[in-house]
Amino acid sequence: MIKNINILDLFLPSGTMQFMSRQKKLLPNSHTELYGQCLQFYGQPPLENIALSEFETFAVERLKLLKTVENLGVSYVKLSEQYTKKLDQESKNLNFPYRSGPSEIEKRRKDHISHFILRLAYCQTEDLRRWFIQQEVDLFRYRFSYLSSKQKLEFLHKNNLQYDAISVEEKKALQDKLVNSSYAVSGITVEDQDFYKVPFQDALDLVRTRKVYLKAGYVYIPHQDIVTIILNDFRTRLSKALALTARSLPAVHSDERLQPLLNHLSHAYQIDSLSGKSFPLCMRQLHQALRENHHLRHGGRMQYGLFLKGIGLSLEQALQFWRSEFIRGKVDADKFDKAYAYSIRHMFGKEGKRTDYTPYSCMKVILSNPPSQGDHHGCPFRHSDPELLKQKLQFYKVSPSGISQILELVKGMHYQLACQKYFELTHNVSDITFSLNHPNQYFVESQKVLGGGKDIKREMDTPQRSQENSGRGSAAAREAAANASQHLAEMTEELDSFFQDA
């Protein structure tokens, strides 16, 4: 197997000789020139060959960095002291650039390459793109804040952002106009900060709302606001680039070495993020266990696997998902195919008596098949030791008062109400109208609250499917969704009659 990959090839649509020659003209002469600063707009893909092993390591490490960026962004105010300290630390640990300095060239090269690799993985769906862009913007903001004024100007000019700072004299002459143009600009702002002249087309929001001074086609912006504009510029560029990359994906798919890695990178992330946001505690727990141990026992596989089916994972996606997770553990590809794939296909009604099993309802999870040592399935509110449950909730950042409320409900054996309370606390709502009785219902309601509205099932389609037979793919997903809700309705009925008879 060829050990080296030429990244540029992956980014060029076939038959673009023109683009190639234009690119070559822009090629800097050395690494020192390309990596002159600790951050960049990632305008050009890397032009070198890199080893397959480096490819994988770089990608995984950048992913770790971006996940840290995401977590820190949730826990701390961005750019606060703790935030930057922790991000400094993580950047250092993962060997990424975080400060200007001569010894940073290798790290910057890694930064450059890893960014482009992740573009390949994260361009494929709207959800993935959104996540990737958000973290990259935050990372950019953090690195930009470390530049001095002079370095900032250099950076702008190097990237064709013709934003020039106006002279002190011009500032003085325009002082009144500047102050009267914006509520946020005072005499002090004008004295203390640099003001930049920006073409009005690059600051449309400020122009539209008339919150800025406009003269001869340029807006005059204080330094504090320039950062916003630059970030928006970065965001727009990246968004466009991702859209383009998505279109040239066939080149990537034809490369067998990359395909599994990229899929794993993006799918794993996607389910990771969903698990944190929209999974009930029982499934979140199962997901975490699977990711940590690269394995789940039968009970866990059934409960979690059927749940995933209910949220729209297709058979192919499920096989890919479980396989990629298990082979990171002790199971090799062959064994997986022999032993585990069968049971997954069974879940989808493709083997044996071909029952298309339905995802378990809360009643079923609570009442049947209690977990034993080494199991992670069941209902945490029912089956976990209260102390352990408390720790788990703390780890998932539930407030202390919230935790006591949940524990109270658990004591009273109101497990589903406890889960409902968990829903309320994690979604920051206090008036849910549904009565929780099914994990997939939890998921659906959660997506509603989060304003999803989009077709999650469609999002999780891999690009091959969407390119070849999107009709079939989404029909299958719709079917799965229809199944899930139909069974939800059935479960509710069963439950009603159960309680009535009793």
Binding site: N180, Q201, D205, T209, Y213, A216
Partner: protein, 397 residues
């Protein structure tokens, strides 16, 4: 020369061929996506179809008349002038002399004010240079901003420009359509300066807004309640509009010394009665078509002539030539015509040339002459400007 407008406004070669025109024919039949390869073709088609109305649209990626053959999604507008449309009907709530499609010399000042304010802003704030103001032929004016930068603006940018220029918010249900807060943006100050020049004669005298009772009530509905009561009392003893206005301003000065909100009402009144009302949708659309300069307005017969800003204050929409007048003027016999004819008929080869020359000279005999001259100057300025650009780009400057 007409051909020059839609093509000189851009530098690239195939622009004319990719420019969209639309014709409105007899019985209101509207045909879009017309395009032509040469000036001759356009003329021939115009003569053949006899459109009542001709509109100009954008320059597309392909020839508009072939747009159905192009792969869907690839046929797109590449460039289009930034345009503004000011329509007198939008001022019906603040003019008492006319309504709907009518205009008179009294309310025409609103157009003058609109042109002054917008022209200044587009030039000084946005840095545009090539603006053509055109009388629509009936009840409004259009502005064509032909700078290259303007033609390349995105929909979002056009919309942002239009909103920057908008101060009147709200429809029929809204009483108070202008609200100013601190700080007052330089753009608003400049606009107010223009309004203040015209306000005494236009609003206080001609429109008499502080004269008749309903008008007074309407004006007073725009001031804070406490001030309103005082003014209503004061107005009982003071009937002269100018003095009444002074009372309003004095109240405003008082309020501005103390209050933090609602203290700019005298400015708000002036703006509500005089400030330009734009239709943002006309400006932001890249696919939108606008009436061609020099076309005939189907309902009035008036020609859409360009307005020379140097003579803006004396522009009279009722003195604009109509098509019948032009025809009449063209039909009048010319001095020395017979001589010309005999000379030219001697040389048949020159016949075609002569016809061309005669055609070009013809308009000079009509009232259109001065408008065409002004238009020529506009085109020259643009041509000089892009020649300069070319030279600069080629490094010769």
């Amino acid at each position: 020369m007409y051909y020059s407008f839609p093509s000189t406004t851009s530098v690239q070669k195939n622009y004319f061929q990719n420019r969209e025109f639309s014709f409105t024919l007899k019985d209101d039949i509207y045909v879009r996506y017309q395009s032509f390869t040469t000036q001759n073709e356009l003329e021939k088609e115009m003569q053949k179809m006899n459109p009542y109305k001709i509109d100009i649209g954008a320059i597309y990626s392909h020839r508009p008349n072939q747009h159905n053959t192009v792969k869907s999604g690839t046929f797109q507008a590449l460039e289009k002038e930034l345009v503004f449309d000011i329509d007198m009907t939008d001022y019906d709530d603040v003019r008492s002399c006319c309504s709907a499609a009518d205009i008179c010399c009294k309310c025409w000042s609103l157009m003058t004010i609109a042109i002054r304010i917008l022209d200044r802003a587009l030039r000084e704030d946005f840095g545009f240079h090539h603006l053509l103001w055109v009388y629509s032929g009936r009840r409004g004016v259009h502005c064509w901003v032909c700078d290259e930068a303007a033609r390349k603006l995105s929909v979002a940018a056009r919309s942002a420009v239009a909103e920057y220029l908008s101060l009147i918010k709200g429809g029929e249900e809204t009483v108070k359509k202008v609200v100013l807060t601190d700080p007052i943006h330089p753009f608003i100050r400049e606009s107010l300066a223009v309004v203040e020049r015209y306000f005494p004669r236009y609003a206080l005298q001609e429109q008499d807004i502080l004269g008749r009772k309903e008008s007074v009530d309407k004006v007073l509905s725009l001031v804070p309640e406490d001030v309103r009561k005082e003014l209503q009392q004061d107005f009982q003893n003071e009937k002269k509009p100018e003095s009444r206005w002074k009372l309003v301003r004095d109240q405003a000065t008082k309020k501005q010394a103390t209050a933090k909100k609602g203290q700019y009402f005298e400015k708000e009144i002036m703006l509500q009665y005089c400030y330009p009302r734009l239709d943002v949708n006309v400006s932001k659309g890249v696919n939108h078509l606008l009436k061609s300069p020099f076309s005939v307005h189907p309902k009035t017969g008036r020609i859409s002539v360009p307005i020379n800003l140097k003579e803006l204050d004396v522009f009279d929409p009722f003195a604009v030539p109509t098509i019948s007048l032009i025809c009449e003027e063209l039909d009048r016999p010319r001095a020395g015509e017979d001589e010309e004819k005999s000379e030219e008929s001697k040389d048949k080869e020159n016949e075609k040339d002569a016809a061309e020359r005669r055609k070009i000279r013809d308009y000079k005999r009509t009232t259109l002459a001065k408008y065409v001259k002004y238009f020529d100057q506009f085109l020259d300025a643009m041509a000089r400007s892009w020649k300069g650009e070319l030279l600069r780009k080629s490094g010769k400057f």
